[in-house]
């Protein structure tokens, strides 16, 4: 990865500084904007590591509240490190959520109305009817690999074991199948 993609995030850092400098007051606008920017990214992390939409939503709420508490209290020495703080917190909270140490009910009691600021747009969805037409139009082996893969999110090794293929072979078929499906669904190609 090069510098273009990993530059510090001036917008997030700037918002973090505004929140920190507003203490003991609260800069609601900066908080809401920071949450709006970070929430989808935290949700993705949660979906990947928790595999559950509700748990991912919990993660978003918990991490953002921890971040805001830290910033309001002046506890984040370098606001440029806001994303690093979020990353570290995501890791810890995912462990807690997996252990069941954090309960959404307790959170709601603790933070009440503040949680509303973390409301975000729902994740994007595709035109399902189109997905189905495009999936149905794939060659048999490609459709089988996609179904076996995504029905329960199984890796290439597991799918290969079920189909009597090598993992490399499954990756090749999966790559081709996803490329076709993606072109068909997103590219507007009639299925």
């Amino acid at each position: 990865m090069d510098a273009d993609a990993t530059d510090p995030l001036p917008a997030e850092a700037g918002l973090a500084r505004r929140i920190a400098s507003a203490a003991p007051g609260v800069d609601r606008a900066a908080e809401a904007e920071l949450c709006r920017r970070l929430a989808p990214r935290i949700r993705r992390y949660g979906l990947r590591h928790l595999r559950d939409a509700e748990a991912a939503a919990d993660l978003v709420q918990i991490v953002l509240m921890k971040l805001l508490e830290k910033l309001r209290a002046g506890g984040l020495r370098d606001p440029d490190q806001v994303v690093s703080f979020v990353f570290g917190t995501c890791r810890l909270v995912v462990l807690d959520l997996r252990r069941g140490d954090i309960r959404r009910e307790r959170l709601l009691e603790a933070y009440g109305e503040d949680l509303a600021i973390a409301d975000i747009a729902p994740p994007p969805r595709l035109d399902q009817a189109r997905v189905e037409r495009c999936l149905q139009a794939l060659p048999e082996r490609e459709r089988a690999v996609l179904v076996l893969t995504f029905h329960e999110d199984r890796d290439a090794g597991e799918v290969a074991g079920q189909l009597g293929l090598t993992a490399g072979n499954v990756r090749v078929i999966r790559h081709r199948a996803l490329a076709r499906l993606r072109d068909c669904v997103l590219g507007g190609e009639a299925a």
Binding site: A5, T6, P40, F87, Q128, L135, Q136, L148, T149
Partner: protein, 186 residues
């Protein structure tokens, strides 16, 4: 990662499926918290995955699958209606409202076979043909999960599935299987 520093589509698929090693996964975890473009690309991967899952789960598409996958569906509590046919067999079949999937387990002499094609005929006319379908040579079965949604809408009718082995020498019939489908409630 690509030259532009962004994660490629295949890398994001591998990430979603937990195929990356711990170091690469952690690097990408961090990158995704910073890079909105890669985050949106991951959204696309997740949306495609969810679309495939939903299409299959609600019976909108058919699939030829291995026996092990059927066992997993069963273990997951899915209500399955299973028909097992040897070559030349016929069966009276249907799909009830409570059935999640219908499983057509077609036995065939598959030892040494490299490719299997299937055709579906109704009223003497070929309706569908399927090229290079997955099969389980060890158990000698080709397992088809028809699209339950389409099956529910089908009128009472008879159709024949024909399996052929394909190799350099041409085609060899493995068996024909006749389904007398009765529409539930009609």
């Amino acid at each position: 990662m690509t030259n532009a520093g962004h994660a490629g589509f295949d890398t994001l698929v591998a990430y979603w499926l937990d195929e990356l090693d711990a170091e690469a996964e952690s690097r990408l975890d961090g990158h995704l918290l910073e890079c909105e473009a890669c985050g949106r690309a991951l959204d696309e991967v997740m949306a495609l995955a969810a679309g495939v899952r939903e299409a299959f789960t609600r019976g909108a598409v058919h699939a030829f699958v291995p026996e092990s996958f059927v066992k997993r569906l069963e273990a997951g509590g899915a209500a399955l209606r299973v028909y097992r046919l040897a070559p030349g067999d016929s069966v009276h079949c249907t799909i009830l409202p409570a059935d999640r999937f219908v499983v057509s387990r077609l036995e065939a002499p598959l030892a040494g076979v490299r490719r299997v094609d299937a055709t579906v005929e109704a009223q003497g006319q070929e309706r569908q043909s399927f090229r290079d379908v997955p099969f389980d040579a060890a158990s000698g079965t080709v397992t088809l999960l028809p699209a339950a949604e389409a099956l529910r809408a089908m009128p009472t009718h008879t159709e024949r599935v024909r399996l052929v082995a394909v190799d350099e020498g041409g085609e060899r019939e493995l068996g024909t299987y006749t389904f007398h489908h009765a529409r539930h409630g009609g």
